[in-house]
Subunit: 215 residues, 2 copies
């Protein structure tokens, strides 16, 4: 398998964690989001993924998959060992809801293309841009913290005592939160789960600082 | 089943379509996003969904589910008749990727809370706010159009000749695009699929104009 990735891309980071949790080997193909006006925007990458976003996964059969959550669901269906979703429909719904709270409600607002629009089109200052990022992370983390702290299904990880799709999404978002200096003491359950994940090899090896294209 | 909904909420609209496609009866509980400072932000609704977003679904067993895409996956797992995902993993990955291109890359940027932030915090004018909404819809639709037009799997609907999760997400986004006067002639495949969906009772009955709380 071939993963088109960028060390700091939050969505690519999710898929790296999932691949590692499942023990699947892959070739990392770096796509630099800042160089050459954004390598993801060039025709060569658009031919792979017309949405010009990361990650994309080329599977062993040559098919190309896009959208990190769809890719992780696919990996879970095709490599069922070390499942990343629980077996019961309500549990699966809870894990997907936690994952999508990150993937739909937090991450899209802090995406590079959005921050560029704020600066270039809306003339936002650096401070306003940073405040924007912090605002949406804090807003989304407040929801996640309530969902996690208020549920008997939360265990050592987001759902029970093994990592799931929800943890694959949460950890890269905490990485971003730390970059933007969000005060995480307000989110003790998120912080505790992040710490538990950070002890696992699969999460450690997926960290941006451990990638070949890391700067 | 009980669906917490708002006639114009794009995410609630997705779930209404899915419920209708599956022929599942439900009680619609309106949550008005604009009245009383936003009913979704009040303690009564936050007790149901801490994320203070729509929709939420209370299933017949009393469990509450959140995040529209997670809810539709749950309905598909628990009511497998009229499947909303294809049977093969690659097809499922494609449908999820199309759905998430709407749910992650387009819709979150046009959400009410985001538009409010643009106006109140970034002092965006009405014109700048409308341009923002149009920009992200057009950007996302360009990606979707390429994904749909370039694939042999696209049929009468987004994937083959029966509606899927992808169509449940696409149609409400087209509704929003029309509200913001996005030029849809640039997206002939999206327009054709939208027209095909609009002939079906399940989509017609889910339309914002047909809801009890419609204004």
């Amino acid at each position: 398998m071939k993963l088109y990735t960028y060390f700091r891309s939050s969505a690519a980071y999710r898929v790296r964690i999932a691949l590692n949790l499942k023990g699947l080997a892959y070739e990392a193909v770096p796509v630099h989001l800042l160089r050459k006006g954004g390598e993801q925007l060039q025709p060569a990458y658009r031919a792979i993924n017309p949405a010009a976003m990361l990650p994309s996964l080329e599977d062993d059969g040559g098919a190309t998959l896009t959208q990190s959550v769809a890719i992780i669901e696919y990996l879970d269906e095709t490599h069922p060992a070390t499942p990343l979703l629980p077996p019961d429909p309500l549990g699966r719904a809870r894990v997907r809801s936690l994952a999508l709270t990150v993937a739909c409600d937090i991450h899209p607002l802090g995406n590079l293309r959005v921050l560029k629009y704020l600066v270039h089109e809306l003339k936002a200052s650096d401070d306003a841009k940073a405040a924007w990022s912090r605002h949406w992370i804090a807003e989304g983390f407040a929801a996640l913290e309530a969902m996690l702290a208020g549920s008997p299904h939360t265990g050592r990880f987001c759902h029970g005592d093994t990592p799931t799709l929800a943890d694959c999404c949460l950890v890269p978002q905490v990485f971003n939160a730390l970059r933007f200096e969000v005060d995480l003491t307000r989110f003790p359950t998120i912080s505790r789960i992040h710490a538990a994940c950070s002890e696992l090899d699969a999460f450690i090896a997926a960290h941006p600082s451990k990638q070949l294209d890391s700067e």
